[in-house]
C-alpha cells in the first residue's frame, strides 16, 4: 500500500489513511523525500489523523522523515495526532523531538506557511 502525496502549489500534502506495515512506512519515507526533491517543494504536511497506533518504529520513521525533509531544505509540519496516540508516545518516552506539530490540517497549513515565509531569503518570494 502506498500513501498518496498531493501537490498544492509549492506544498506537498500527505495523509496517512491506513495502518502501515514497516515496509509501507519505509516506502512512504522514500516517496516523500523523492517528491520533495522532484517538485522543489517548500513545505510538507503529514496528516496522521487516521493513525490509531504510532509505535516506536513509526515514531522513528516520522521523526527521521521530518529531519530528512528539512535537510533537503523544505519545512515540515505533522498534524492531527490523536490524543490517545500522544499519551502513548509520551508514556513510552518516544516524543517526536524537533518536529513541528499542529492540531489539524488547517492549523498545520497556517504554521507551514509561516515557517516558509520566515526562512532566510524568503522575502523576495
Amino acid at each position: 500500500m502506498r500513501v498518496p502525496i498531493l501537490k498544492l502549489g509549492d506544498i506537498l500534502l500527505t495523509s496517512i489513511q491506513m495502518d502501515l506495515t514497516d515496509s509501507d512506512a519505509q516506502q512512504f519515507q522514500n516517496d516523500v523525500l523523492h517528491m520533495v526533491h522532484e517538485k522543489n517543494a517548500k513545505g510538507l504536511i503529514i496528516d496522521i489523523t487516521a493513525l490509531d497506533v504510532v509505535d516506536s518504529y513509526m515514531a522513528r520513521i516520522l521523526n527521521d522523515t521530518a529531519h530528512m525533509v528539512r535537510l533537503l531544505g523544505a519545512e515540515v509540519v505533522l498534524c492531527g495526532m490523536r490524543p490517545a496516540v500522544a499519551i502513548t508516545l509520551v508514556e513510552m518516552g518516544r516524543e517526536l523531538i524537533g518536529v513541528d506539530t499542529a492540531l489539524n490540517l488547517e492549523q498545520g497549513m497556517e504554521k507551514l506557511r509561516r515557517r516558509i515565509a520566515g526562512r532566510p531569503g524568503a522575502a523576495g518570494g
Partner: protein
C-alpha cells in the same frame, strides 16, 4: 466463557493483525480508547521484536477478567536466540539491532503487568492490562443524594 485468540507472527503484516486483534478485544471488554491504544502499541512493539530477532513466533491474546476486574493478557513468544541481557534490554537507549532501544522499556510503561522470560530457544513476554469493573449502576450509593 474464556475468549482467547492466537495470531501467528510470521511476517510484518502479522504485527498489524496482532495489534488489531488486541485493540478489538480490549474494546469489547470495555477498556477505554487510551487503554486500547496503549495495548495495541505494546503488542506492536513485542511482535516486531519477534520478527526482528526470532523471525517468527506467536501472540496469544486472552480475556482474563473476573467479577471485579477486566483484564486482558497478551503472551508473545518465540523460539529465537533469546535476549542476552534482560536488564540491559529493559533500559532506555539499549539496542542490539541499531534501533533506538525504546521497544521493551517503552512497552513496560504502557501496561500494568509485564513479565519476561528469556533464554536461548525461548523468549516469552507476558503483559496485561487491568481495570476495576465499573458497576452497572451509578457510583453513588442509594440514599446519599446531594443536598
Amino acid at each position: 466463557m474464556v475468549t482467547e485468540k492466537l495470531v501467528r507472527i510470521e511476517d510484518e503484516m502479522d504485527i498489524v493483525a496482532a495489534r488489531e486483534v488486541g485493540r478489538e478485544m480490549a474494546r469489547e471488554l470495555g477498556f477505554g480508547l487510551v487503554d486500547q491504544t496503549r495495548l495495541a502499541t505494546a503488542i506492536s512493539e513485542l511482535t516486531r521484536n519477534v520478527i526482528q530477532y526470532a523471525g517468527k513466533g506467536i501472540c496469544m491474546i486472552r480475556d482474563a477478567s473476573d467479577s471485579s476486574y477486566i483484564r486482558i493478557q497478551v503472551v508473545v513468544e518465540d523460539n529465537g536466540p533469546g535476549i542476552p541481557d534482560i536488564n540491559k534490554a529493559l533500559q532506555f537507549g539499549y539496542s542490539t539491532s541499531g534501533g533506538l532501544g525504546a521497544g521493551l522499556p517503552g512497552t513496560k510503561q504502557l501496561v500494568h503487568e509485564f513479565q519476561i522470560v528469556s533464554h536461548p530457544g525461548l523468549t516469552r513476554v507476558t503483559i496485561a492490562m487491568v481495570r476495576a469493573r465499573v458497576p452497572e449502576e451509578s457510583h453513588i450509593p442509594v440514599g446519599t443524594q446531594r443536598a
